[in-house]
């Protein structure tokens, strides 16, 4: 019984579950196209609205990095809500819990899927900044920018999944999530904006000045990935 039982449930490892959940989330996105048809257009219109509000090419060029990451944060809030709406719409999250699926695997899987979508979002926002705000990008700047983008989205995906899971079961989660999430992601906004400024060469900041900010982003990503993986189980279980 025991040997057969062990062999039977090899699919319940953390890594296996994470891959399964991530693949499922990306497939749901592929079918529903919420990111493509709703979130990305929203992010773009926010970038356009910023231009109306600030009303000056010089100012826009100066604040372009900050606007990219602000728009990314607002769009990320919507994506986190969506990621957990998929799970709670028909009680799938309860079903996952009652099926004894490892919570750490659920966390990592959802975080990976969210990160993949955030990378698409941030890429689009950077292109928008280049096109709309005349941000300029050198080769050395691009390397910095890609590294910044990956590290920042990793951190965002980790906190997003963690707090999204916390708010998932609750009524009024749409309003609770921004209140919980925005204060926490302030270091990402600061770090990613400064690093992006260096990459764009905004205000004459050189590329090399951007790299130290990556340290902050990396610390953030590691801290919240680890604490999220550990805390997700207690948050879901009741």
């Amino acid at each position: 019984m025991s040997s057969a039982g062990q062999q039977r449930f090899t699919g319940t490892t953390v890594i296996g579950t994470a891959r399964l959940i991530a693949a499922k989330d990306l497939r749901v996105e592929l079918r529903s196209r919420v990111l493509l048809n709703q979130v990305l257009p929203f992010a773009l219109i926010v970038m356009v609205m910023f231009a109306f509000a600030l009303d000056s090419d010089a100012v826009l060029e100066r604040v372009a990095p900050g606007l990219v990451w602000l728009a990314a944060l607002f769009s990320a809030l919507i994506m986190v809500s969506r990621s957990f709406a998929v799970e709670t719409a028909d009680g799938a999250l309860d079903q996952l819990r009652s099926a004894g699926v490892p919570a750490m695997g659920i966390f990592i899987g959802k975080m990976m899927a969210l990160m993949a979508q955030l990378v698409v979002l941030v890429t689009l926002l950077i292109i928008a900044a280049v096109v709309l705000y005349r941000a300029e990008l050198s080769w050395a700047g691009s390397v910095l920018l890609v590294t910044t983008g990956l590290t920042a989205t990793c951190g965002l995906a980790a906190v997003g999944t963690l707090y999204g899971g916390l708010a998932a079961g609750a009524k009024g989660r749409e309003t609770l999530l921004p209140l919980l999430l925005l204060p926490v992601v302030a270091p990402v906004l600061i770090g990613a904006t400064r690093a992006t400024e260096s990459a764009f060469g905004t205000r004459g900041v050189s590329t090399s000045q951007g790299w130290p900010w990556l340290g902050l982003l990396a610390v953030f990503a590691v801290l919240f990935s680890v604490s999220g993986a550990v805390a997700f189980g207690p948050l879901l279980d009741d």
Binding site: A170, K171, L176, L179, L180, A186, P187, G191, R194, D238
Partner: protein
């Protein structure tokens, strides 16, 4: 029996008396007796409420974090820790609000501005919002254990978040071109009486914190008990109901 239903004990009554006495003394010393500052003038008197208020708020949040950890640790798990964490956070949010308001008034008088992007100030504002969120999560409902676990995890996450925010704001500030207004004209040359008044403020506020948390913790316990009341009667009622139906 009726003694269980009130939140005061002889200890808290005595403590409350001392707190009232201390506040009266603090008002007399802070507003009438202590001298105006050489640099800041009369506005230095705000400090006697602001500094103890900020101290208390940070003390409250440390207490919330410690009680949350005590709840999560299996060997000390008890809903009492959860209620202390909640009570402490409520008191902390209140006093952090007070110290933010008094601080910005003081800043207006001294620096000519309500707000400055100083790391300590900004971190305090973030802490304020974070714990408002914490209190919102406490109000989400569910069983007592669910509430306790959810909010305890959140309180520990805040312990991760706050130093990161502080650190990043500090980094951000060092690169700032404009010199921070903080540090200008703020040198306070405190004489003995002024220092004593400040010290008294910290002691009185700390005692007030203990008094508030004890009462609030007990009133939270009564709230929980009210929800739990009838546990025994419910069980016997339910059994009687079943026996009746069985006949």
């Amino acid at each position: 029996m009726s003694n269980d239903r009130v939140t005061s004990t002889p200890f808290t009554k005595g403590l409350g008396f001392f707190v009232l006495l201390g506040i009266a003394l603090l008002i007399i010393l802070g507003i009438f007796v202590s001298p105006a500052d050489v640099n800041q003038g009369e506005s230095v008197r705000i400090m006697y409420a602001h500094v103890p208020g900020a101290w208390l708020a940070y003390l409250a949040f440390v207490m919330t974090a410690v009680s949350s950890a005590a709840y999560l640790w299996k060997r000390t798990r008890s809903l009492t820790w959860d209620r202390i964490a909640g009570a402490s956070a409520e008191v902390g949010v209140l006093f952090m609000g007070i110290s933010l308001v008094t601080g910005s008034l003081w800043g207006r008088l001294t620096w000519g501005t309500y707000w400055t992007w100083d790391a300590r100030l900004t971190t305090t504002a973030f802490l304020f919002v974070t714990y408002i969120g914490y209190l919102a999560v406490r109000g989400l409902g569910g069983t007592h254990q669910q509430r306790a676990r959810r909010s305890a995890v959140l309180a520990l996450l805040a312990v991760l978040e706050i130093p990161l925010v502080h650190f990043s704001v500090e980094l951000w500030n060092t690169l700032h071109q404009e010199a921070s207004v903080a540090g200008r004209g703020t040198d306070v040359e405190m004489n003995g009486l002024m220092l004593f008044t400040l010290f008294l403020g910290v002691v009185v506020f700390t005692l007030m914190y203990v008094w508030l948390v004890l009462h609030r913790q007990r009133s939270l316990m009564l709230e929980d008990m009210l929800e739990d009341s009838g546990l025994d009667s419910a069980l016997s009622e339910r059994r009687a109901e079943a026996t009746q139906a069985g006949r």
